[in-house]
């Protein structure tokens, strides 16, 4: 019986481990309740490679901004947030704006645990933090030009074409504003 109990424990460990692994590789929802030191960017075109992003860190309760600057994007897909979030803040809100993307924000509690995953919405050609008819016009006027206009080349694939137009048409929305409601700074490399 004692051995049978051990076997049950072993099976339990395996099942729990498998469930943890399964959850670990799932795409996390846009906003997490636990903020990781690393933010991973997902569901982006392979050619899209931002070098930097605008990052604002704000205490969720005190509303005090502790970081407001451009930060590097590692390997085109990762932001290391650990150096920008003070440990004393238990709950923080981070605001992020990537090139050609809508701004977004995430509120989370410390301590920071698992990596944070987010899928940015691309298509903000005009840089006004909204994807609308103005962006569509901007892409249409720059299509077929050589060399490609960097601002209108949303997916950074060297040509402004149907793909860029598709991003604008699919992602029409307004992004999250800065906490001070001022315009986002330029994030283009």
């Amino acid at each position: 019986m004692r051995n049978f109990g051990r076997v049950l424990v072993l099976v339990g460990i395996v099942v729990v481990g498998a469930v943890v692994l399964w959850f670990a590789q799932r795409t996390a929802p846009a906003t997490e309740t636990s903020l990781a030191p690393i933010l991973e960017l997902r569901t982006l075109p392979e050619t899209y490679c931002p070098k930097q992003a605008w990052l604002i860190v704000e205490g969720a309760k005190s509303r005090t901004v502790t970081t407001d600057q451009l930060v590097p994007v590692a390997d085109c897909r990762r932001l290391d947030l650990s150096g920008y979030i003070p440990e004393r803040l238990k709950t923080v809100t981070v605001y992020i704006k990537l090139p050609s993307a809508l701004g977004f924000s995430l509120t989370a509690q410390q301590p920071l645990a698992a990596p944070l995953i987010y899928s940015p919405q691309l298509g903000d050609v005009t840089g006004d933090n909204s994807i609308d008819a103005a962006d569509e016009t901007a892409v249409l006027t720059k299509m077929f030009l050589s060399p490609a206009d960097p601002a209108a080349n949303i997916d950074q694939d060297q040509t402004v074409g149907a793909l860029d137009l598709a991003f604008v048409r699919l992602n029409q929305a307004v992004g999250v504003s800065r906490p001070d409601n001022q315009p986002w700074g330029a994030t283009n490399d």
Binding site: N3, V7, V20, A24, P45, A162, L163
Partner: protein, 450 residues
């Protein structure tokens, strides 16, 4: 006594080992299947139909902008860039088909640029499959000569959604095919066909032996599935590479279709052909590094006619996109009558007779029908599939599915780069490894306690 205790221990040990091993395998395969096995993106061949036009001076003729989708796809936007000789041709009309509307259009000095989006009633996207027509172009011939309606590979795009990647748009165009217009003259369509040019493999420079694995690129096999107005060419190469097929009614060829994907097994469609007509064709393969250039011999085929049946198994044809695949492969079928003419609207059915796999219903794709065979096992297996028209067995094929199948490719700087697994796969493998270590340790303790 000792013998009984030993026997009890063995039974429990075996039971626990089997239970844990099963759970581990189930969990591991579920995770890896979710991570690794993603459906292939739909690939599309864009072409103008007809592929060849014979006309006289000061005459209007039409040309359709079409695309052949290998599977069901959701299309958001499409764009076309077409060049031609403005001294010989004048574009008089460009009309999108019912589901599409013009977003932008420009025509300057023999350059046509056209962008279409779905009509308001269609919404933001249109679901398409098989051969789809986007628009009709009408040209007027101005003088005698030969003109190529040339599609730009870079600026002819179809933005489709990838359901396996958060519905991210991607360019579905894998090949484009030009169209040739002959004005005021007749080419020698009936000239004698002589297959006297041997296949040649001509390395560019002297570095080919150093930059390839096991010798230069080879054309291992080629098979044609001939229809009335299109032909599917099944090409198997020694190494994965894009390729090009030039074809035409004379030895001068003139039309070209490109397969841009990097694969050993290529399926290329030659479209816009005239029924019952002889064509020449030639395959050329340039390695991605431009270190070798292969030209096949000049060969020929004759398109067949259209028939209402009945379907005869002896003349019907089946062909696989590849005999070995990782997870999924397309099976093509051409039902024919006793005279070898293609029987249109002949319903076909695929039946798996051995192995575990699923099939999609056959769809008509320009005189050929196709179905996707997908393995339902995580491991390797052989699947035998039979194709029926009503109760008539047209033939059967065997497919080897191997999830670990690796493409044999010439060495390059890219292929020599160290393997960099994604963070998720690393995490999953590390987790499984830790579990196995923990289990091993506990088992040793259990055995010692006994």
């Amino acid at each position: 006594m000792t013998s009984r205790r030993h026997s009890t221990f063995s039974d429990r040990f075996l039971l626990s080992f089997l239970v844990i091993l099963t759970v581990l395998l189930l969990a591991g395969s579920a995770i890896l299947q979710r991570i690794v096995f993603k459906a292939d993106q739909v690939s599309t061949a864009v072409f103008l139909s007809p592929a060849t036009v014979n006309t006289s001076t000061q005459t209007e003729f039409g040309s359709s902008w079409r695309a052949d989708f290998s599977a069901l796809a959701t299309v958001v936007t499409v764009q076309l860039e077409l060049t031609y000789d403005p001294a010989l041709l004048e574009l008089t009309q460009a009309i999108p088909t019912e589901q599409w509307q013009t977003k932008t259009f420009s025509q300057t000095g023999g350059e046509l640029r056209w962008v279409l989006v779905p009509t308001e009633s269609e919404g933001l996207s249109v679901k398409v499959r098989g051969i789809v027509e986007f628009g009709k172009l009408t040209f007027k011939s101005l003088g005698d000569g030969l003109v190529t309606l040339q599609l730009s590979q870079a600026n002819t795009q179809i933005a489709a959604l990838d359901p396996d990647d958060g519905f991210r748009p991607y360019n579905a165009v894998s090949s484009v095919q030009n169209s040739v217009v002959t004005i005021g003259g007749t080419l020698a369509a009936g000239e004698n066909i002589q297959l006297d040019q041997a296949e040649t493999t001509a390395p560019v420079g002297e570095t080919v032996e150093e930059t390839t694995v096991g010798g230069p690129q080879r054309l291992l096999s080629q098979e044609l599935m001939i229809g009335p107005d299109s032909v599917l060419a099944f090409i198997r190469l020694q190494y994965a590479s894009p390729l090009k097929i030039q074809f035409g009614q004379t030895r001068a060829l003139g039309s070209v279709v490109e397969a841009t994907s990097l694969s050993r097994f290529q399926v290329v469609r030659l479209s816009g052909l005239t029924p019952g007509t002889a064509y020449f064709y030639q395959v050329t393969v340039d390695s991605p590094e431009k270190t070798s250039h292969l030209t096949s011999r000049l060969q020929s085929f004759q398109t067949n006619g259209v028939s209402d049946g009945p379907v005869v198994a002896a003349t019907s044809q089946l062909a696989l996109a590849a005999g070995i695949a990782k997870k999924s492969v397309l099976l093509y079928a051409s039902p024919r009558d006793a005279a070898g003419n293609t029987v249109t609207s002949a319903p076909l059915m695929a039946k798996i007779v051995s192995g575990s796999a699923s099939t999609t219903p056959f769809i008509d794709s320009g005189g050929h029908q196709q179905t996707a065979i997908t393995s339902e096992l995580a491991g390797a297996q052989k699947v035998r599939v039979q194709v029926f028209h009503q109760t008539t067995l047209l033939g059967e094929r065997t497919i080897a599915f191997d999830p670990n199948l690796a493409e044999l490719q010439p060495e390059s700087a890219a292929s020599l780069a160290p393997f960099q697994p994604s963070r998720t796969i690393t995490l999953a493998l590390a987790g499984i490894g830790l579990l196995i270590l923990l289990l091993g340790w506990l088992f040793i303790r259990l055995a010692r306690a006994k």
